[in-house]
Protein backbone atom coordinates (compact mmCIF):
# COMPACT_ATOMS: atom_id res chain seq x y z
CA UNK A 1 0.00 0.00 0.00
CA UNK A 2 1.20 3.51 -0.76
CA UNK A 3 2.21 5.61 2.20
CA UNK A 4 1.42 8.97 0.65
CA UNK A 5 -1.03 9.69 -2.16
CA UNK A 6 -1.33 13.11 -3.73
CA UNK A 7 -4.57 12.79 -5.64
CA UNK A 8 -5.41 15.47 -8.20
CA UNK A 9 -4.16 18.26 -5.98
CA UNK A 10 -4.44 21.81 -7.34
CA UNK A 11 -4.14 25.24 -5.79
CA UNK A 12 -5.49 28.55 -7.03
CA UNK A 13 -5.03 31.79 -5.11
CA UNK A 14 -7.50 34.65 -5.45
CA UNK A 15 -5.06 37.25 -6.75
CA UNK A 16 -5.80 40.97 -6.98
CA UNK A 17 -5.64 40.78 -10.79
CA UNK A 18 -7.73 37.62 -11.09
CA UNK A 19 -7.07 34.11 -9.76
CA UNK A 20 -3.49 32.78 -9.88
CA UNK A 21 -2.93 29.07 -10.30
CA UNK A 22 0.05 27.87 -8.31
CA UNK A 23 -0.58 24.18 -9.00
CA UNK A 24 -2.66 22.97 -11.93
CA UNK A 25 -2.91 19.31 -11.02
CA UNK A 26 -0.46 16.93 -9.42
CA UNK A 27 -0.91 13.18 -8.91
CA UNK A 28 1.76 11.24 -7.06
CA UNK A 29 1.94 8.00 -5.16
CA UNK A 30 4.86 7.51 -2.84
CA UNK A 31 5.69 4.19 -1.14
CA UNK A 32 6.84 3.98 2.45
CA UNK A 33 10.37 5.15 3.25
CA UNK A 34 11.03 6.48 -0.23
CA UNK A 35 13.22 9.58 -0.41
CA UNK A 36 11.66 11.87 -3.00
CA UNK A 37 13.23 15.12 -4.21
CA UNK A 38 11.10 17.75 -5.90
CA UNK A 39 12.83 20.21 -8.22
CA UNK A 40 11.60 22.89 -10.59
CA UNK A 41 11.98 26.52 -11.56
CA UNK A 42 11.07 29.12 -9.01
CA UNK A 43 7.32 29.65 -8.98
CA UNK A 44 6.55 26.09 -10.11
CA UNK A 45 4.55 25.47 -6.94
CA UNK A 46 6.95 23.07 -5.23
CA UNK A 47 6.79 24.81 -1.85
CA UNK A 48 3.01 25.17 -2.14
CA UNK A 49 2.77 21.43 -2.74
CA UNK A 50 4.87 20.74 0.34
CA UNK A 51 2.73 23.09 2.45
CA UNK A 52 -0.39 21.28 1.26
CA UNK A 53 1.03 17.87 2.20
CA UNK A 54 2.06 19.38 5.54
CA UNK A 55 -1.51 20.60 6.08
CA UNK A 56 -0.31 24.20 6.38
CA UNK A 57 -2.35 25.18 3.31
CA UNK A 58 -5.56 23.67 2.01
CA UNK A 59 -5.68 22.47 -1.60
CA UNK A 60 -8.27 24.09 -3.88
CA UNK A 61 -8.86 20.74 -5.58
CA UNK A 62 -8.06 17.11 -4.86
CA UNK A 63 -6.79 15.60 -1.63
CA UNK A 64 -3.74 14.18 0.11
CA UNK A 65 -3.99 10.78 1.78
CA UNK A 66 -1.65 9.18 4.26
CA UNK A 67 -2.18 5.43 4.68
CA UNK A 68 -5.48 5.91 2.86
CA UNK A 69 -6.81 8.59 5.23
CA UNK A 70 -7.29 12.12 3.85
CA UNK A 71 -5.34 14.72 5.85
CA UNK A 72 -7.06 17.48 7.77
CA UNK A 73 -4.58 20.20 8.67
CA UNK A 74 -1.14 19.68 10.17
CA UNK A 75 -0.43 16.66 12.32
CA UNK A 76 2.24 14.76 14.17
CA UNK A 77 2.42 12.11 11.45
CA UNK A 78 4.42 14.70 9.47
CA UNK A 79 7.58 16.56 10.46
CA UNK A 80 8.56 19.84 8.77
CA UNK A 81 11.98 21.43 8.28
CA UNK A 82 11.94 24.98 6.94
CA UNK A 83 14.68 26.89 5.16
CA UNK A 84 14.57 29.61 7.82
CA UNK A 85 15.60 27.19 10.65
CA UNK A 86 12.55 28.29 12.67
CA UNK A 87 14.01 27.33 16.02
CA UNK A 88 12.61 28.49 19.34
CA UNK A 89 15.45 30.85 20.19
CA UNK A 90 14.58 31.17 23.87
CA UNK A 91 15.08 27.45 24.35
CA UNK A 92 18.34 25.51 24.38
CA UNK A 93 19.19 22.89 21.75
CA UNK A 94 17.89 20.13 24.02
CA UNK A 95 14.86 22.29 24.92
CA UNK A 96 13.94 22.75 21.27
CA UNK A 97 14.03 19.04 20.58
CA UNK A 98 12.23 18.16 23.79
CA UNK A 99 9.48 20.67 23.00
CA UNK A 100 8.57 18.49 20.01
CA UNK A 101 7.86 15.61 22.40
CA UNK A 102 5.52 17.60 24.58
CA UNK A 103 2.40 16.10 22.97
CA UNK A 104 3.77 12.58 23.15
CA UNK A 105 2.60 10.06 25.71
CA UNK A 106 6.12 8.88 26.54
CA UNK A 107 7.45 9.06 30.09
CA UNK A 108 10.04 11.61 31.24
CA UNK A 109 12.96 9.20 31.13
CA UNK A 110 12.10 7.98 27.64
CA UNK A 111 11.82 11.54 26.37
CA UNK A 112 15.18 12.46 27.84
CA UNK A 113 16.71 9.40 26.23
CA UNK A 114 15.19 10.18 22.83
CA UNK A 115 16.39 13.78 22.95
CA UNK A 116 19.91 12.65 23.83
CA UNK A 117 19.82 10.05 21.06
CA UNK A 118 18.85 12.54 18.36
CA UNK A 119 21.36 15.14 19.57
CA UNK A 120 24.03 12.50 19.01
CA UNK A 121 22.50 11.41 15.69
CA UNK A 122 22.82 14.90 14.21
CA UNK A 123 26.29 15.36 15.70
CA UNK A 124 25.46 18.03 18.26
CA UNK A 125 26.84 16.25 21.34
CA UNK A 126 28.24 18.89 23.72
CA UNK A 127 25.86 21.60 22.46
CA UNK A 128 22.80 20.47 24.46
CA UNK A 129 22.69 23.66 26.51
CA UNK A 130 23.65 26.10 23.77
CA UNK A 131 21.07 28.59 22.48
CA UNK A 132 20.27 28.73 18.74
CA UNK A 133 21.87 32.15 18.34
CA UNK A 134 25.17 30.68 19.46
CA UNK A 135 25.14 28.14 16.62
CA UNK A 136 26.15 28.32 12.96
CA UNK A 137 23.53 27.94 10.22
CA UNK A 138 24.44 24.28 9.64
CA UNK A 139 24.18 23.48 13.34
CA UNK A 140 20.84 25.25 13.63
CA UNK A 141 19.48 23.19 10.77
CA UNK A 142 20.69 20.02 12.48
CA UNK A 143 18.62 21.01 15.53
CA UNK A 144 15.63 21.53 13.22
CA UNK A 145 16.14 18.08 11.68
CA UNK A 146 16.40 16.45 15.11
CA UNK A 147 13.29 18.33 16.23
CA UNK A 148 11.36 17.12 13.19
CA UNK A 149 12.45 13.48 13.60
CA UNK A 150 12.37 13.00 17.37
CA UNK A 151 8.63 12.37 17.56
CA UNK A 152 8.89 9.72 14.83
CA UNK A 153 6.66 11.16 12.10
CA UNK A 154 5.90 8.86 9.16
CA UNK A 155 6.71 11.59 6.65
CA UNK A 156 9.44 14.21 6.76
CA UNK A 157 8.82 17.36 4.71
CA UNK A 158 11.83 19.53 3.93
CA UNK A 159 11.50 22.88 2.17
CA UNK A 160 14.93 23.87 0.78
CA UNK A 161 16.44 23.12 4.18
CA UNK A 162 20.03 23.75 3.05
CA UNK A 163 19.25 26.66 0.76
CA UNK A 164 20.67 29.26 3.13
CA UNK A 165 23.93 27.40 3.81
CA UNK A 166 27.28 27.90 2.11
CA UNK A 167 28.39 25.24 -0.39
CA UNK A 168 30.79 23.38 1.92
CA UNK A 169 28.34 23.21 4.80
CA UNK A 170 25.59 22.14 2.43
CA UNK A 171 27.66 19.15 1.25
CA UNK A 172 28.30 18.09 4.85
CA UNK A 173 24.63 18.46 5.73
CA UNK A 174 23.54 16.33 2.77
CA UNK A 175 25.79 13.49 3.91
CA UNK A 176 24.61 13.90 7.49
CA UNK A 177 20.97 13.84 6.40
CA UNK A 178 21.51 10.63 4.43
CA UNK A 179 23.22 8.99 7.38
CA UNK A 180 20.44 9.99 9.78
CA UNK A 181 17.81 8.85 7.29
CA UNK A 182 19.44 5.43 6.81
CA UNK A 183 19.39 4.92 10.58
CA UNK A 184 15.83 6.25 11.03
CA UNK A 185 13.96 5.37 7.86
CA UNK A 186 11.08 7.66 7.04
CA UNK A 187 9.29 8.82 3.89
CA UNK A 188 10.88 12.10 2.77
CA UNK A 189 9.64 14.87 0.48
CA UNK A 190 12.60 17.15 -0.15
CA UNK A 191 12.06 20.39 -2.08
CA UNK A 192 15.17 22.00 -3.57
CA UNK A 193 16.31 24.00 -6.57
CA UNK A 194 19.74 22.34 -6.49
CA UNK A 195 19.64 19.49 -9.04
CA UNK A 196 22.80 17.82 -7.76
CA UNK A 197 21.44 17.83 -4.21
CA UNK A 198 18.14 16.38 -5.43
CA UNK A 199 19.82 13.42 -7.16
CA UNK A 200 22.44 12.80 -4.50
CA UNK A 201 19.85 12.39 -1.75
CA UNK A 202 16.87 10.76 -3.41
CA UNK A 203 15.46 7.45 -4.62
CA UNK A 204 13.30 9.42 -7.00
CA UNK A 205 13.32 12.93 -8.43
CA UNK A 206 10.12 14.72 -9.46
CA UNK A 207 10.52 17.62 -11.87
CA UNK A 208 7.65 20.09 -11.84
CA UNK A 209 6.71 22.12 -14.89
CA UNK A 210 6.76 25.88 -14.51
CA UNK A 211 3.31 27.46 -14.29
CA UNK A 212 0.80 26.08 -14.13
CA UNK A 213 2.50 23.45 -11.96
CA UNK A 214 2.20 20.05 -13.54
CA UNK A 215 4.37 16.97 -13.40
CA UNK A 216 7.18 17.30 -15.95
CA UNK A 217 9.28 14.24 -15.24
CA UNK A 218 9.50 11.43 -12.70
CA UNK A 219 12.91 9.77 -12.53
CA UNK A 220 14.07 6.77 -10.52
CA UNK A 221 17.53 7.27 -9.05
CA UNK A 222 19.11 3.84 -9.09
CA UNK A 223 22.47 4.67 -7.63
CA UNK A 224 22.69 2.28 -4.68
CA UNK A 225 23.26 3.18 -1.06
CA UNK A 226 25.01 4.20 1.08
CA UNK A 227 26.27 7.00 -1.11
CA UNK A 228 29.27 9.23 -0.70
CA UNK A 229 29.93 12.55 -2.34
CA UNK A 230 32.21 10.99 -4.97
CA UNK A 231 29.12 9.66 -6.68
CA UNK A 232 28.48 13.04 -8.30
CA UNK A 233 31.23 12.40 -10.85
CA UNK A 234 29.96 8.95 -11.89
CA UNK A 235 28.53 8.73 -15.39
CA UNK A 236 25.10 7.49 -14.24
CA UNK A 237 24.84 10.52 -11.96
CA UNK A 238 25.96 12.91 -14.65
CA UNK A 239 23.45 11.47 -17.13
CA UNK A 240 20.60 12.03 -14.65
CA UNK A 241 21.81 15.50 -13.94
CA UNK A 242 21.94 16.31 -17.66
CA UNK A 243 18.38 15.09 -18.17
CA UNK A 244 16.96 17.07 -15.24
CA UNK A 245 18.87 20.22 -16.13
CA UNK A 246 17.52 19.95 -19.69
CA UNK A 247 13.98 19.63 -18.27
CA UNK A 248 14.41 22.68 -16.10
CA UNK A 249 16.05 24.69 -18.87
CA UNK A 250 13.12 23.92 -21.14
CA UNK A 251 10.72 25.15 -18.48
CA UNK A 252 12.76 28.27 -17.79
CA UNK A 253 12.76 29.14 -21.49
CA UNK A 254 8.98 28.73 -21.55
CA UNK A 255 8.64 31.15 -18.64
CA UNK A 256 10.92 33.66 -20.31
CA UNK A 257 9.06 33.38 -23.60
CA UNK A 258 5.74 33.86 -21.80
CA UNK A 259 7.08 36.93 -20.01
CA UNK A 260 8.25 38.50 -23.23
CA UNK A 261 4.77 38.47 -24.76
Amino acid sequence: MHKLVIDGVGKTYPGTAGPVTAIERIDLTIPENQFVSIVGTSGCGKSTLLNIVGGLEDPSRGEVRIDGTPIRGPGRDRGFVFQSYSLFEWMTVAGNIRFALEKSALGRAEKTELVAHFIQAVGLGGFEDAYPRQLSGGMRQRVAIARALVYKPAILLMDEPFGALDAQTRGMMQELLLKVWEDHKVTVLFVTHDVEEAIFLADRVIVLASRPGLLKNDLTIDLGRPRSFEIVTESAFVALKREILANIREETLKVMAAERV
Partner: protein, 272 residues
Protein backbone atom coordinates in the same frame (compact mmCIF):
# COMPACT_ATOMS: atom_id res chain seq x y z
CA UNK B 1 57.19 58.44 12.77
CA UNK B 2 55.02 57.68 9.78
CA UNK B 3 53.75 54.14 9.61
CA UNK B 4 55.73 52.09 7.11
CA UNK B 5 53.08 49.47 6.39
CA UNK B 6 51.22 50.00 3.12
CA UNK B 7 47.72 49.46 4.55
CA UNK B 8 47.30 51.80 7.45
CA UNK B 9 44.09 51.49 9.45
CA UNK B 10 41.67 54.24 8.57
CA UNK B 11 41.54 56.88 11.26
CA UNK B 12 38.86 59.22 12.46
CA UNK B 13 35.85 59.04 14.76
CA UNK B 14 33.22 59.73 12.11
CA UNK B 15 33.34 56.54 10.04
CA UNK B 16 30.01 55.12 8.91
CA UNK B 17 28.72 52.51 11.39
CA UNK B 18 32.20 51.89 12.83
CA UNK B 19 32.67 51.23 16.56
CA UNK B 20 34.37 53.80 18.79
CA UNK B 21 35.92 53.06 22.22
CA UNK B 22 33.29 52.45 24.90
CA UNK B 23 34.60 55.14 27.26
CA UNK B 24 34.38 57.71 24.48
CA UNK B 25 30.78 56.76 23.70
CA UNK B 26 29.76 57.19 27.38
CA UNK B 27 31.83 60.33 27.84
CA UNK B 28 30.19 61.97 24.82
CA UNK B 29 26.83 61.53 26.54
CA UNK B 30 28.03 63.56 29.53
CA UNK B 31 29.90 66.19 27.59
CA UNK B 32 26.90 67.50 25.65
CA UNK B 33 24.66 68.12 28.72
CA UNK B 34 27.70 69.58 30.54
CA UNK B 35 28.28 72.03 27.70
CA UNK B 36 24.62 73.02 27.73
CA UNK B 37 24.79 73.51 31.48
CA UNK B 38 27.89 75.67 31.08
CA UNK B 39 26.22 77.77 28.38
CA UNK B 40 23.17 78.18 30.61
CA UNK B 41 25.31 79.24 33.54
CA UNK B 42 27.26 81.73 31.40
CA UNK B 43 24.15 83.29 29.92
CA UNK B 44 22.61 83.89 33.35
CA UNK B 45 25.88 84.85 35.06
CA UNK B 46 26.62 87.49 32.43
CA UNK B 47 23.09 88.85 32.78
CA UNK B 48 22.25 88.30 29.11
CA UNK B 49 18.64 87.33 29.95
CA UNK B 50 16.39 88.38 32.77
CA UNK B 51 16.07 85.78 35.58
CA UNK B 52 12.31 85.67 35.02
CA UNK B 53 12.86 84.20 31.55
CA UNK B 54 15.73 81.97 32.48
CA UNK B 55 16.70 81.50 36.13
CA UNK B 56 20.29 80.51 36.81
CA UNK B 57 21.27 76.87 37.51
CA UNK B 58 21.87 77.88 41.11
CA UNK B 59 18.33 79.20 41.52
CA UNK B 60 16.87 76.06 40.00
CA UNK B 61 18.96 73.91 42.31
CA UNK B 62 17.84 76.03 45.26
CA UNK B 63 14.20 75.55 44.28
CA UNK B 64 14.84 71.81 44.18
CA UNK B 65 16.56 71.85 47.55
CA UNK B 66 13.66 73.76 49.03
CA UNK B 67 11.17 71.15 47.80
CA UNK B 68 13.38 68.33 49.02
CA UNK B 69 13.88 69.70 52.51
CA UNK B 70 10.22 70.54 53.17
CA UNK B 71 9.16 67.09 51.93
CA UNK B 72 7.00 68.21 49.01
CA UNK B 73 9.35 66.63 46.46
CA UNK B 74 9.11 63.17 47.99
CA UNK B 75 5.35 63.50 48.34
CA UNK B 76 4.86 64.78 44.77
CA UNK B 77 7.13 62.12 43.36
CA UNK B 78 5.41 59.26 45.17
CA UNK B 79 1.94 60.45 44.12
CA UNK B 80 3.04 60.88 40.49
CA UNK B 81 4.95 57.61 40.30
CA UNK B 82 1.91 55.81 41.67
CA UNK B 83 -0.30 57.33 38.95
CA UNK B 84 2.24 56.56 36.23
CA UNK B 85 2.66 52.95 37.31
CA UNK B 86 -1.06 52.26 37.63
CA UNK B 87 -1.98 54.10 34.41
CA UNK B 88 0.73 52.43 32.39
CA UNK B 89 0.12 49.00 33.92
CA UNK B 90 -3.62 49.22 33.19
CA UNK B 91 -2.90 50.17 29.57
CA UNK B 92 -0.34 47.36 29.27
CA UNK B 93 -2.59 44.73 30.85
CA UNK B 94 -5.13 45.30 28.08
CA UNK B 95 -2.75 46.19 25.25
CA UNK B 96 -0.71 42.97 25.46
CA UNK B 97 -3.56 40.48 24.94
CA UNK B 98 -5.42 42.73 22.49
CA UNK B 99 -2.23 43.47 20.52
CA UNK B 100 -1.33 39.79 20.34
CA UNK B 101 -4.82 38.89 19.10
CA UNK B 102 -4.75 41.71 16.53
CA UNK B 103 -1.34 40.61 15.28
CA UNK B 104 -2.42 37.02 14.72
CA UNK B 105 -6.07 37.06 13.73
CA UNK B 106 -6.88 39.12 10.66
CA UNK B 107 -10.51 39.39 11.73
CA UNK B 108 -9.64 41.03 15.03
CA UNK B 109 -7.12 43.31 13.33
CA UNK B 110 -9.73 44.31 10.77
CA UNK B 111 -12.30 44.95 13.48
CA UNK B 112 -10.15 47.05 15.81
CA UNK B 113 -7.36 48.65 13.80
CA UNK B 114 -9.36 51.45 12.12
CA UNK B 115 -10.98 52.39 15.43
CA UNK B 116 -7.73 52.43 17.39
CA UNK B 117 -5.87 54.30 14.65
CA UNK B 118 -8.51 57.02 14.80
CA UNK B 119 -8.63 57.32 18.57
CA UNK B 120 -4.84 57.45 18.68
CA UNK B 121 -4.89 60.86 17.00
CA UNK B 122 -7.49 62.36 19.28
CA UNK B 123 -5.95 64.92 21.65
CA UNK B 124 -6.02 63.57 25.18
CA UNK B 125 -5.99 67.11 26.63
CA UNK B 126 -9.34 67.74 24.99
CA UNK B 127 -10.78 64.77 26.86
CA UNK B 128 -10.03 66.23 30.30
CA UNK B 129 -13.55 67.64 30.84
CA UNK B 130 -15.11 64.32 29.84
CA UNK B 131 -12.64 62.36 31.96
CA UNK B 132 -13.76 64.42 34.98
CA UNK B 133 -17.40 63.66 34.26
CA UNK B 134 -16.65 59.97 33.92
CA UNK B 135 -14.04 59.43 36.60
CA UNK B 136 -14.51 62.29 39.06
CA UNK B 137 -11.67 64.44 40.30
CA UNK B 138 -9.71 61.85 42.27
CA UNK B 139 -6.74 59.69 41.28
CA UNK B 140 -8.99 57.74 38.92
CA UNK B 141 -9.26 60.69 36.54
CA UNK B 142 -5.46 61.17 36.42
CA UNK B 143 -4.94 57.50 35.81
CA UNK B 144 -7.60 57.52 33.09
CA UNK B 145 -5.77 60.32 31.25
CA UNK B 146 -2.46 58.43 31.48
CA UNK B 147 -4.22 55.30 30.28
CA UNK B 148 -5.73 57.07 27.28
CA UNK B 149 -2.39 58.63 26.41
CA UNK B 150 -0.63 55.28 26.47
CA UNK B 151 -3.00 52.51 25.45
CA UNK B 152 -3.85 53.33 21.84
CA UNK B 153 -0.24 53.78 20.76
CA UNK B 154 0.91 50.77 22.73
CA UNK B 155 -1.62 48.30 21.39
CA UNK B 156 -0.65 49.04 17.77
CA UNK B 157 3.04 48.73 18.57
CA UNK B 158 2.49 45.37 20.26
CA UNK B 159 0.52 44.20 17.23
CA UNK B 160 3.54 45.06 15.09
CA UNK B 161 5.94 43.35 17.51
CA UNK B 162 3.92 40.17 17.19
CA UNK B 163 3.67 40.38 13.41
CA UNK B 164 7.43 40.50 12.92
CA UNK B 165 8.04 37.00 14.25
CA UNK B 166 8.80 34.34 11.63
CA UNK B 167 5.60 32.72 10.43
CA UNK B 168 7.38 29.38 10.21
CA UNK B 169 7.68 29.37 14.01
CA UNK B 170 3.89 29.20 14.11
CA UNK B 171 3.88 26.54 11.41
CA UNK B 172 6.48 24.54 13.34
CA UNK B 173 4.15 24.69 16.34
CA UNK B 174 1.24 23.50 14.20
CA UNK B 175 3.18 20.53 12.84
CA UNK B 176 4.16 19.63 16.41
CA UNK B 177 0.48 19.34 17.28
CA UNK B 178 -0.04 22.46 19.41
CA UNK B 179 -3.42 24.22 19.57
CA UNK B 180 -3.91 27.89 18.67
CA UNK B 181 -4.01 28.89 22.34
CA UNK B 182 -0.82 26.95 23.07
CA UNK B 183 0.95 28.47 20.06
CA UNK B 184 -0.07 31.98 21.15
CA UNK B 185 1.11 31.48 24.71
CA UNK B 186 4.14 29.24 24.30
CA UNK B 187 5.57 30.23 20.91
CA UNK B 188 4.31 33.63 19.76
CA UNK B 189 4.46 35.35 23.15
CA UNK B 190 8.02 34.32 24.07
CA UNK B 191 9.27 34.96 20.53
CA UNK B 192 7.79 38.47 20.49
CA UNK B 193 8.59 39.32 24.12
CA UNK B 194 11.95 41.09 23.56
CA UNK B 195 10.24 43.37 21.04
CA UNK B 196 7.25 43.87 23.33
CA UNK B 197 9.64 44.75 26.16
CA UNK B 198 11.14 47.50 23.98
CA UNK B 199 7.61 48.76 23.41
CA UNK B 200 7.11 48.82 27.20
CA UNK B 201 10.24 50.91 27.52
CA UNK B 202 9.14 53.41 24.90
CA UNK B 203 5.52 53.66 26.01
CA UNK B 204 6.25 54.23 29.69
CA UNK B 205 8.30 57.19 28.48
CA UNK B 206 5.17 58.49 26.78
CA UNK B 207 3.16 57.93 29.97
CA UNK B 208 5.65 60.22 31.74
CA UNK B 209 5.13 62.93 29.13
CA UNK B 210 1.37 62.86 29.85
CA UNK B 211 1.89 63.44 33.58
CA UNK B 212 1.48 67.23 33.47
CA UNK B 213 -1.66 66.87 31.38
CA UNK B 214 -3.05 64.32 33.83
CA UNK B 215 -2.41 66.56 36.82
CA UNK B 216 -3.73 69.68 35.10
CA UNK B 217 -7.06 69.69 36.88
CA UNK B 218 -8.07 69.09 40.49
CA UNK B 219 -4.81 67.69 41.80
CA UNK B 220 -3.33 68.88 45.05
CA UNK B 221 -0.08 66.98 44.80
CA UNK B 222 2.14 65.58 42.09
CA UNK B 223 5.15 66.64 40.05
CA UNK B 224 2.94 67.94 37.26
CA UNK B 225 0.69 69.80 39.69
CA UNK B 226 3.73 71.55 41.21
CA UNK B 227 4.72 72.85 37.76
CA UNK B 228 1.22 74.12 37.04
CA UNK B 229 1.14 75.89 40.43
CA UNK B 230 4.50 77.51 39.80
CA UNK B 231 3.16 78.78 36.48
CA UNK B 232 0.55 80.79 38.36
CA UNK B 233 3.27 82.68 40.27
CA UNK B 234 5.72 82.76 37.37
CA UNK B 235 8.15 80.80 39.54
CA UNK B 236 10.28 79.82 36.58
CA UNK B 237 12.94 78.20 38.77
CA UNK B 238 10.37 75.76 40.14
CA UNK B 239 9.01 75.09 36.65
CA UNK B 240 12.47 74.28 35.33
CA UNK B 241 13.34 72.13 38.31
CA UNK B 242 10.11 70.15 38.00
CA UNK B 243 10.62 69.60 34.28
CA UNK B 244 14.20 68.48 34.71
CA UNK B 245 13.23 66.20 37.58
CA UNK B 246 10.54 64.48 35.50
CA UNK B 247 13.17 64.05 32.78
CA UNK B 248 15.54 62.41 35.26
CA UNK B 249 12.87 60.04 36.57
CA UNK B 250 12.07 59.14 32.95
CA UNK B 251 15.73 58.42 32.30
CA UNK B 252 15.86 56.23 35.40
CA UNK B 253 12.74 54.33 34.30
CA UNK B 254 14.30 53.78 30.89
CA UNK B 255 17.50 52.49 32.45
CA UNK B 256 15.59 50.05 34.69
CA UNK B 257 13.66 48.69 31.71
CA UNK B 258 16.79 48.39 29.61
CA UNK B 259 18.76 46.49 32.27
CA UNK B 260 15.83 44.25 33.19
CA UNK B 261 15.32 43.45 29.50
CA UNK B 262 18.95 42.47 29.11
CA UNK B 263 18.66 40.14 32.08
CA UNK B 264 15.35 38.62 31.03
CA UNK B 265 16.26 38.02 27.39
CA UNK B 266 19.83 36.82 27.46
CA UNK B 267 19.07 34.51 24.52
CA UNK B 268 18.19 37.47 22.32
CA UNK B 269 21.60 39.09 22.82
CA UNK B 270 23.65 36.03 22.07
CA UNK B 271 25.44 36.21 18.79
CA UNK B 272 28.24 34.50 17.04
Amino acid sequence: MPDASPRRPRRGLLRLREEIPGWLFSAAGFVVPALLLLAWWLVTELGLVRPLFLPSPGEVAAAGWQQWSDGTLAQDASVSIYRIVVGWAAATAIAVPVGILMGNFRLIEGALEPLISTVRYMPVVALIPLSILWAGIGDGQKILILFLGTFFQQVLMIMDNVKTIDRNLIRAGQTLGFSNAEILRRIILPAALPGIWDTFRITIGWTWTYLVVAELVAANAGLGRRIMDAQRYLATDTILFGTLFIGLLGLLTDYIFKKTGQRLFRWAQLGR
